[in-house]
């Protein structure tokens, strides 16, 4: 069958792209400095949360609520690193290294190349998530009861969340192909807006109503709620409290499938548009 060789070829290309990605991401520093760089940002945010909580704990802040926020914040590294990082790949290849046109013209192809580059970012994000959770558990007292962990729904929700991250990463990368200098602003905006809109560290009920509607349409909102319920043992109050675990899982699955289809279609539409507009090698000396 011709399918197996083509899959094998795609995997080989993705592996090559991942190796290249690792060289690009990590060759500027020795391993110790690189580790500090990778972990500084998420750990600093985690520490900010922990100090904020410890400061107001005496005023009756609920520890179980905080554990849920801390866990969601740790997993938000995937969104920061992978989803937004894939857009940065396009931006850097075009503006910084001026190699995007060569990648596009190579037999690897942009889609496979981006998939390969995302593997490195997934690895880095996973390290960040694990270290943040370990620091939380051993140093900050952010703990949960392992007996209440629902392993199967947890595994399913993590799979759906990571798939959503990857597909939306493709969509953002496609959008970055069309944008030029403003891609930098869009990517930074998505990083910050997702932190606010997905209710990472607070219940979405605290958002204004129109923003609540947006939040409910995003797969990450459901992913973080699922993580809180199936790992930390407690969901958030308010709107989410009215939903059962099954409903949360179904919402996460549905949103993930819709976004996957939309993202794949959107990526190729953006790519065609970028080619038509001559944006693949357009640098702006930002």
């Amino acid at each position: 069958m011709a399918v197996i060789p083509s899959i094998r070829a795609a995997l080989s290309r993705a592996r090559t792209a991942a190796w290249l990605g690792w060289q690009v991401e990590g060759n500027w520093a020795d391993p110790v400095l690189f580790s500090i760089y990778i972990l500084a940002r998420p750990l600093a945010t985690a520490l900010i949360l922990a100090i904020m909580y410890s400061t107001v704990r005496a005023h009756g802040a609920d520890p179980t609520v905080f554990v849920g926020f801390y866990v969601a914040n740790a997993f938000h590294s995937y969104v920061n690193t992978v989803l937004v990082g894939m857009g940065w790949v396009v931006f850097e290849e075009r503006e910084e290294y001026e190699t995007l046109k060569y990648v596009y013209a190579s037999p690897v192809g942009m889609f496979t190349y981006l998939a390969g580059r995302s593997l490195v970012k997934f690895t880095l994000a996973t390290v960040s998530v694990v270290v943040t959770l370990l620091v939380g558990w051993f140093l900050l007292g952010v703990r949960w009861d392992w007996a209440t962990v629902q392993w199967l729904p947890l595994a399913a929700s993590i799979a759906a969340g990571l798939a959503s991250t990857l597909f939306l990463g493709f969509l953002l990368a496609g959008w970055s192909l069309v944008l030029t200098r403003s891609a930098m602003v869009v990517l930074e905006g998505v990083t910050l807006a997702s932190y606010l809109l997905c209710g990472v560290i607070f219940p979405i009920d605290l958002l204004p109503r129109p923003l609540q509607a947006v939040a409910l349409g995003l797969p990450f909102t459901w992913w973080y709620e699922a993580l809180r319920r199936f790992l930390a043992g407690h969901g958030t109050h308010g709107v989410m409290q009215r939903l059962s675990d099954t409903q949360v899982l179904l919402a996460l699955g549905g949103a993930s499938v819709v976004f996957a289809v939309l993202a794949r279609w959107g990526y190729f539409a953006f790519e065609r548009r970028a080619r038509a507009l001559g944006r693949l090698d357009q640098t702006t000396l930002f």
Binding site: Y37, A44, V56, V185, F202
Partner: protein
């Protein structure tokens, strides 16, 4: 041009006195160069609408999230005010880091750095202009954070003296932007790592400066941070002026103001020394015109 035709007037040179006498020298040249660079920064920041949005809105998104976390944890309202003040100040830190610290690196990438070194004015004047222009543009944008705090989160302020606020703010900004001037030469020496360094310094400085919580909560670490980072002391001092006792200040306000003045002098001196070193290095090694170095 014939032998008797008048010499053409050159930009920056006094007309009618021959072409060799510059119009500005000494302090006048310093101020003229400062104003010229500040003008470019202000005009440039207004010509890129996406950057206006990113500078004005993005830093406040994080601030909103932290304010809502306090609300979710049932914290007293005064903590929200603490986070709003810190959130507004993040705008300045981002500007110092990216608009000052990483700026000479950008200039090198764009092939303009050698023009700065070849220009007849001091590089300190260029960086001062960059700081003044960046500060002016950032002040306007930080008003978005102030507006969010007042009209969306309804933060309550104590009765405060606008003069005290202005004095503490100016001291904080001078110290902070002087630090940015020092960072700009350091980042340039590090070369390609400038981007990564600026990226890596953002959130850790938010943490060490106690932008979203009282710096006193950090205990001994907070005291150490206050001894290194002007943003830590500046945030605490501004909060003490605006929030009074609710700020849970680290040190008495006059002492913090004195320390900020000390920071300003220290960082202005280190900026001057590091820029002089950078200039010497650039002439000796000839590397500053090479991208990726």
């Amino acid at each position: 041009m014939t032998a008797h035709s008048p010499a053409p007037q050159r930009a920056g040179f006094e007309p009618g006195l021959g072409s060799t006498r510059p119009r500005h020298t000494g302090v006048r040249l310093f101020l003229a160069a400062t104003w010229a660079r500040a003008y470019v920064r202000i005009a440039g920041s207004l010509r890129e609408p996406t950057w206006i949005i990113s500078d004005a809105i993005f830093p406040n998104l994080g601030m909103c999230a932290f304010v809502l976390l306090y609300r979710a944890l049932g914290a007293p309202r005064e903590y929200e005010a603490l986070a709003v003040v810190g959130g507004v100040l993040t705008t300045y830190w981002i500007n110092v880091l990216w608009g000052m610290g990483a700026q000479l690196y950008w200039e090198k990438q764009q092939g303009q750095l050698q023009l700065y070194f070849a220009a007849p004015c001091s590089l300190v004047a260029v960086l001062t202009g960059m700081a003044v222009g960046g500060l002016a543009a950032t002040m306007v944008r930080s008003l978005v954070g102030v507006a969010l705090g007042v009209w969306v989160f309804h933060v309550q302020l104590a009765a405060f003296s606008p003069w005290a606020l202005a004095a503490v703010f100016v001291l904080t900004m001078v110290a902070l932007y002087a630090l940015g001037m020092t960072l700009s030469s350091l980042f340039l020496l590090y070369g390609r790592e400038a981007w990564h360094t600026a990226n890596a310094l953002q959130e850790p400085v938010y943490f060490l400066s106690g932008l979203y919580f009282p710096i006193r909560s950090l205990g001994a670490l907070g005291a150490v941070a206050a001894g290194i980072l002007p943003l830590t002391l500046g945030t605490d001092a501004i909060r003490q002026v605006l929030l009074g006792h609710a700020a849970r200040g680290l040190l008495p306000l006059p002492l913090e103001a004195l320390a900020l003045a000390g920071f300003a002098v220290l960082f202005l001196w280190t900026a001057r020394v590091s820029l002089a070193y950078l200039e010497t290095l650039s002439k000796r090694e000839g590397r500053l015109t090479q991208r990726w170095q």
